[in-house]
């Protein structure tokens, strides 16, 4: 009777007498041969079923099963035998086959499969396998296995790592991470605190102890800083004060504390946390775009709010991003306002940043440079695009728009660029 996929009976563990079990193995063998016939007849074989048969056979009679698979090398046409069977075999059996030339062309992939399966299911076998690998294979094998390294198996991993600093660092990256932040390296079902404690306990008395301890302290500190930084957009003053306390606790002097806060803030404030009072600012920008609120008023409101609502530490970067946001909409107003308020260098820096952005629209970049030129600020040393290069690019992009842009530049500049744009 031919059973379709999913209709086949589950493959039971053979029980009973030695004869009955031998008969069960013979059945498995016969079924695999049938699947193999299908392959030879260019029919699709039942991949899942074949793998289940192999897994079952290996348990009962590894030698016979390995021999059958090993012989398959020359029989070909199974697709990727590594994919189909290497993971179904116990690692040592697979290595035995490989030592006899099986899977030689696919050895790298097969080893990586074996590494993952072993690290996941029986990490205690890892040292034994490592000792059988060829020269130069250990690194990529360990890299593949590392993905499944669990802190529960820390003792084995530390034994493998010995005093290899690179491997220890990878293990620490996996197990000892700052607890409160969600981290993509930590699977969601794990508890970072428990993982770190497990790793520390396993490292006690080994060469890794000091290193892991140090990483743990760094992670705790990072955790505290992360927690504090998360409060920054909503309660900036309190968060900066808390940050100060954390760094002071580390034994840093007042200057070092200020420097450290500055570093943390510039690295993380805008990039990951967004801006302070973002919603209100976005709404002002929207009104400015619609024309219901003059951009100048919107900007002045925001700058005043920054001065009164934010601690000194955060004002610079908030002003910078404010100027950048507005610059992309109404450059002339922003530059005029920056000059009026003595923020010339900040204004020019914001202009330069937007004007150099490749995704900013060409017309916006042109408007920004025009606004600077009108105040004689499009000069060298401001990290701005070079006038001739920009004019030529604009001209190639949109000749008409570029010409009318050029004509609105201050006369000396307009004349100087005339030559470029023809």
């Amino acid at each position: 009777m031919i059973l379709r996929r999913n209709q086949r009976p589950p493959i039971d563990l053979p029980t009973g007498t030695a004869e009955e079990r031998a008969a069960a193995c013979a059945d498995i063998h016969a079924d695999l041969e049938k699947e193999f016939k299908k392959v030879q007849g260019s029919l699709g074989y039942d991949y899942v079923y074949s793998r289940a048969l192999v897994a079952r056979w290996v348990k009962e009679d590894p030698a016979a099963c390995s021999a059958w698979i090993g012989a398959m090398n020359s029989r070909g046409a199974w697709g990727d035998p590594s994919d189909a069977f290497a993971r179904a075999l116990p690692a040592q059996q697979a290595l035995d086959l490989m030592e006899n030339g099986w899977l030689d062309s696919n050895r790298r992939m097969a080893l990586s499969d074996i590494a993952k399966a072993t690290a996941e299911r029986s990490p205690a076998e890892l040292p034994g396998i490592l000792s059988r690998l060829r020269k130069g294979e250990a690194n990529s094998f360990l890299n593949a296995a590392l993905y499944y390294a669990k802190p529960n198996d820390a003792a084995i991993w530390l034994q493998i790592a010995g005093s290899d600093e690179k491997l220890l660092a990878s293990l620490a990256d996996k197990w000892i991470v700052a607890s409160p932040t969600p981290d993509h390296r930590v699977p969601s079902d794990r508890n970072p605190q428990q993982d770190a404690e497990m790793a520390l306990a396993a490292a006690a008395g080994t060469p890794a102890e000091a290193f892991f301890r140090q990483r743990y302290e760094a992670a705790v500190l990072t955790g505290k800083v992360d927690e504090t930084m998360a409060r920054l957009p909503s309660e900036p003053a309190a968060a900066v004060a808390a940050l100060e306390a954390i760094y002071r606790e580390q034994g840093l002097g007042p200057d070092a504390v200020q420097k450290k806060i500055m570093e943390t803030v510039t690295q993380r404030y805008e990039g990951t946390l967004g801006q302070w009072n973002r919603v209100e600012w976005d709404s002002s920008l929207q009104q400015a775009v619609l024309g219901t609120l003059p951009m100048r008023d919107a900007l002045e409101g925001r700058l005043a709010a920054i001065d009164s609502g934010l601690p000194e530490m955060l004002r610079g970067s908030s002003r910078a991003s404010t100027l950048r946001d507005a610059m992309a909409i109404e450059p002339a107003t922003v530059i005029q306002l920056a000059l009026d308020r003595g923020l010339e260098s900040e204004g020019v820096a914001a202009a330069a940043q937007v004007a150099r952005l490749s995704e900013a629209p060409m017309t916006v970049r042109g408007d920004i440079l025009l606004a600077l030129a009108n105040h004689d600020l499009w000069t060298d040393g401001h990290n701005l695009p070079d006038a001739k290069t920009f004019a030529l690019r604009y001209f190639h992009y949109d000749p008409e728009a570029a010409q009318s842009w050029r004509r609105s530049l201050p006369p000396a500049m307009a004349t100087a660029l005339q030559e470029v744009m023809r």
């Binding site: 929207q286 009104q287 219901t292 629209p361 949109d398 000749p399």
Partner: protein
């Protein structure tokens, strides 16, 4: 082809009737009245019938000014975290607007400050009404300053692509009216998946170019699209028939790429054998310029040499003497 007007009216009345029936059916206290079905409503309330959120005032939004006012009112209202307008079915609203008043919708989008969300409005609208939006986009794309050029060009390309499937002549003249830098950014999108006839029509509609990078991207995109439209012969015929050297070069380059990808050089060299000496040198030049890339493995080089040897040609993997 236009449908006769009376059928159109009939369909609308039927839809309106269906909508009214569905709407009334869910309120048993109002007895369904056959009279309702005869009321003529300009916008069929299909969305309401399907149970979607529909703006209550949608029917009243007959004029462009009314659409704009409703949008601007939403713009000044609160937003969610991503910057999306808090308006019932805002994306659907924008899609409907762009169908009724495409120019108004594009200009409304230009006034929308939502850096992380605005692309959803235009992306969805083009998905449904790309052909309708194309002329409006070409007319007003400069106003879309709150979006990056790259994004705007991408959407314009998609809209023109849809229009070109219905009306290649109109799409061609719109495309030709764009400045060279914009055109060169949209060629790939517009030419993508067009049939051979539309492609040739679009290509022929382009003005002569003095901008080398624009011309290069045009011929490149055209040759690639011709290959996609006619994978059997397109590129090979192009290599033989192209009269303009830049286009011949584009076809030869595409031919080399195709042969390399398919690991089959016979089509390429069959074509080469049909070429005159000058065009042959050009084709060889096109191959030479690609040879240093890592894609040409030892195996690929060997099969090129073998093919050349079989045909009694110089070995094209070597520099010409």
């Amino acid at each position: 082809m236009k449908r006769p007007a009376h059928i159109l009216i009939l369909t609308h009345v039927m839809l309106a009737g269906l909508g009214a029936w569905l709407a009334l059916r869910s309120r048993p206290d109002v007895p369904p009245s056959p009279m309702v079905a005869t009321i003529s409503i300009p916008h069929p309330p299909v969305a309401a019938a399907a149970g979607k959120t529909c703006l209550p005032s949608k029917i009243a939004l007959a004029s462009p000014a009314a659409w704009r006012a409703a949008w601007e009112q939403a713009l000044l209202g609160p937003r969610d975290r991503s910057g999306e307008l808090m308006m019932p079915d805002d994306i659907g609203f924008f899609m409907d607007w762009s169908e009724v008043d495409p120019e108004g919708a594009i200009r409304g989008l230009a006034k929308t400050y939502a850096p992380h969300f605005a692309h959803n409005y235009i992306g969805n609208a083009i998905g449904r009404n790309g052909a309708i939006l194309a002329p409006a986009l070409v007319k007003h794309y400069r106003e879309l300053k709150l979006m990056g050029d790259f994004e705007v060009h991408d959407y314009m390309g998609r809209a023109l692509n849809k229009l070109a499937k219905d009306d290649p002549a109109q799409a061609g003249s719109l495309l030709a009216s764009l400045p060279p830098g914009v055109r060169s950014d949209v060629y790939r999108r517009v030419f993508d998946q067009q049939d051979r006839k539309s492609l040739d029509q679009l290509y022929a509609a382009m003005p002569a170019s003095t901008n080398p990078s624009e011309a290069g991207r045009r011929t490149e995109a055209y040759a690639a699209a011709v290959d996609a439209a006619d994978p059997e012969h397109g590129v090979w015929t192009g290599m033989v028939e192209a009269s303009d050297p830049a286009l011949r070069n584009a076809f030869a380059t595409e031919g080399v790429r195709k042969a390399l990808k398919g690991e089959n050089w016979s089509g390429f060299f069959d074509t080469v054998e049909q070429l005159g000496p000058a065009a042959r040198d050009e084709a060889r030049e096109a191959m030479q310029s690609q040879l240093p890339s890592g894609a040409f493995t030892e195996k690929a080089r060997a099969s090129i040499s073998e093919e050349c040897r079989r045909r009694g040609l110089d070995d094209w993997t070597q520099k010409p003497r």
